[in-house]
């Protein structure tokens, strides 16, 4: 079976090396990197902006480009964090802690160099894991019926919403809100319109691009306007500054390996966001370090570990997305949406039905990571300059790109109304300190959750116990319950520490799970 995988991988390299595919992959990495460096713009925004472009493309280059944007923007985020102390992308917040002090000591170049090495190393490990783990996972996945799919989706949604930033309860609320947004449009089973407000344009449901542009683009601008000035000044940076010394490499290398392991483990679990992964990697580095007190003053381990974990997680994240059709986070949900738009249903059959996409994607990861390294060596000076573009020019230009981009998805102005509405909703929710990413997760999975839920209960003649009695499904539901208990317990302990009174949250948690299962 491993021989088969290697053979398929060879085929994948053939696909990825085709001229046009290579070009799109390069384009994706470049643009992703460019957007990722900008403050407030991460992979989500980059992919949202370029998603309309993929509609006219062949599926293979489309997905290669999106993947390129994804890891390109991730690397770009690290650049902003290290040079500017600006976590343009939440997972890199941790990189700021030691990366920016290194810049202040004049070692910003070294930090970037180490980031580059650890991300390349971690991504390579992630790719190897992906090559060998995916076919195994697929064999299990073929045993999945609607019952199992519903249960694992519940687990994915729950994990995605409870483990992301902020309060777990709010995350779950946002996921449910996203599921509700997915209901809008024509019901596939009965053909009746739901939540369409008598607007014929809504009969096909809400537009994924419009929602993500509204929630992550316009909402961000609404909250940030007149709050953000120019990003700052870091001076110049030369290529020779980027080479770490032998001693620094010796310190960074073990951290890199630990970070990679953390990222790989978390990547295999659907729903664990990249932010939590980098924070855990950082915490681990501090724990194993002989001088934990020195962290935060420019420790190279504090940069290498989290960055390695972020990149190996990025790669491994593609496994559940591609082979089970269950995205780990909002970015993966967007990529999943792009595949669906192309008429490709991710799932266990993807590897056999579209080997060119699956193996081409894996091969392009490697090529893309090489491109990333090659690109960033000469471009580092450009990134530094780009960070000086003032916000007051940035956001009006971005508004135009959003409007035109969304228009081009269906050549209709109606989608822009959706952007406006979701922009306002997003700004409102964010100012109430909700994190809006789970909305996207719920929105993309919503129709599939409903479909499988209805099908499972149709098959079992309305018997709810089927979700618990079938072994695979029961395992997932059990994990859901464990997760809820864990979250409830930590919330309870947290609230006990803060105030001695009213432990409402834990008593509330079990009913929440009962409703989730029993609705």
């Amino acid at each position: 079976m491993i021989g088969q995988s290697l053979h398929d991988l060879w085929f994948g390299f053939g696909v990825a090396f085709q001229g046009s595919n290579l070009l799109w992959s390069f384009f994706g990495v470049l643009v992703g990197n460019l957007i990722g460096v900008l403050p407030g713009m991460g992979a989500l925004q980059a992919i949202s902006i370029l998603l309309p472009l993929t509609y006219v493309m062949h599926p293979v280059p489309a997905i290669l480009m999106l993947a390129g944007i994804f890891y390109g923007s991730q690397y770009g985020g690290a650049i902003g964090a290290i040079l500017m102390n600006m976590p343009s992308h939440p997972p890199h917040a941790v990189t700021c802690l030691d990366g920016y002090p290194m810049t202040k000591q004049g070692k910003g170049g070294v930090a970037l160099g180490v980031t580059m090495i650890s991300s390349f190393f971690a991504a390579s490990v992630g790719i190897v894991v992906m090559i060998f783990a995916s076919p195994l996972l697929v064999q299990i996945a073929f045993k999945f019926g609607p019952t199992e799919i519903f249960s694992i989706m519940m687990l994915g949604l729950l994990a995605g919403s409870t483990m992301s930033r902020g309060s777990a309860l709010k995350g779950v609320a946002m996921t449910v809100f996203g599921l509700l947004c997915g209901v809008v449009g024509t019901d596939v089973n009965s053909g009746s319109f739901r939540f369409a407000f008598d607007l014929p344009e809504l009969s096909d449901g809400l537009e994924l691009v419009a929602i993500s542009m509204g929630l992550f683009g316009v909402a961000d601008f609404l909250l940030n306007v007149n709050r953000m000035k120019s990003i700052g000044d870091t001076g110049t940076l030369k290529l020779s500054d980027m080479r770490p010394s032998r001693e620094e490499l010796k310190r960074a290398f073990p951290a890199m390996i630990r970070g990679t392991i953390v990222g790989t483990i978390f990547g295999a679990m659907p729903g664990t966001g990249p932010t939590i992964t980098t924070f855990i990697a950082y915490a681990l580095e501090r724990k194993v370090s002989k001088t934990p007190a020195a962290f935060g003053t420019g420790m190279i381990e504090g940069v290498a570990g989290p960055e390695a974990s972020a990149h190996s997680k990025t790669q491994v994240d593609f496994i559940p997305t591609m082979s089970l059709g269950i995205p780990g986070d909002a970015v993966m949900a967007l990529i999943l949406g792009a595949l669906l738009i192309q008429g490709i249903q991710p799932g266990p059959q993807l590897i056999t039905e579209h080997p060119d996409i699956f193996w081409g994607l894996i091969a392009s990861f490697w090529i893309g990571n090489v491109i990333l390294v090659v690109l960033n060596v000469p471009l580092i000076g450009v990134w530094v300059k780009l960070l000086k573009v003032p916000y007051k020019y940035l956001f009006p230009a971005a508004m135009f790109f959003i409007a035109v981009g969304v228009f081009s998805t269906q050549n209709s102005l109606f989608q822009i109304w959706e952007v406006l509405v979701f922009g306002i909703i997003g700004a409102l929710l964010m100012s109430l300190e909700f994190s809006v990413a789970p909305i996207l997760l719920g929105f993309v999975l919503g129709p599939m959750v409903e479909e499988n839920f209805r099908r499972a209960l149709l098959l079992s003649r309305g018997d709810m116990s089927v979700f618990v009695t079938r072994p695979i499904s029961g395992t997932f539901i059990g994990l859901c319950v464990l997760l809820l208990i864990g979250v409830g317990y930590s919330a309870w302990r947290g609230s006990r520490r803060k105030s001695q009174l009213l432990p409402d949250a834990p008593e509330g948690a079990p009913p929440a799970e009962a409703v989730t299962l029993g609705k």
Binding site: N85, D187, R227, K392, P396, N411, E433, L458, A505
Partner: protein, 173 residues
């Protein structure tokens, strides 16, 4: 911004009372949205477990959302919220800037209006110019130049290279 996290956490803690309210109103909002969705879903056929109608899933989700909202309200009343990482996308909390928001919304509305009745170029100019005016640091001249630059991009990239299905000029839809 010398000690970004330390300073952030401290300022967050001092803002605890406002967070307290935020959870309360956020929860209340979820209750309202959930109940409204459940009510609307009830209008479609709900059906039974073995044969669900189109209304079943929305009603279930709406009730679940309302329930979660209720839990939020209850827990917001009882406990001081943890000073959690407020770096959601890195923007500061508090009320957003009114002039900026109004200009951004007006910019989008004018793009919609002019896209329908004027064509791509007027719409491009409107959205960039109006939203640029939302920033208090932009002068009229800067906004004008930025809008003109974007019009060039609109013509070259979107109209010519990507052949966007929106004429450059059109009169009255």
């Amino acid at each position: 911004m010398q000690h970004s996290t330390g300073g952030g956490a401290a300022s967050q803690a001092s803002r605890a009372p406002s967070t307290f309210k935020k959870d309360y109103y956020g929860g209340a909002l979820m209750v309202i949205v959930g109940l409204a969705a459940a009510y609307a879903g009830y209008g479609y056929r709900v059906g039974e477990l073995a044969h669900m109608g189109p209304g079943f899933f929305p009603v279930a989700l709406g009730l679940l959302l309302a329930f979660i909202g209720l839990l939020m309200v209850i827990s917001a009343r009882g406990q001081q919220p943890a000073p959690e990482a407020a770096v959601s996308h890195g923007h500061p909390s508090g009320l957003p800037d009114l002039r900026g928001c109004v200009c951004i919304v007006l910019g989008i509305l004018s793009f919609l209006l002019l896209g329908e009745y004027g064509g791509l170029l007027p719409a491009t100019f409107a959205i960039v110019f109006i939203s640029a005016l939302g920033d208090r640091d932009n002068t009229l001249r800067e906004a004008l130049l930025l809008a003109l630059a974007m019009m060039v991009i609109a013509v070259v990239v979107f109209w010519w290279a990507l052949s966007l299905q929106l004429p450059l000029f059109q009169w009255g839809g």
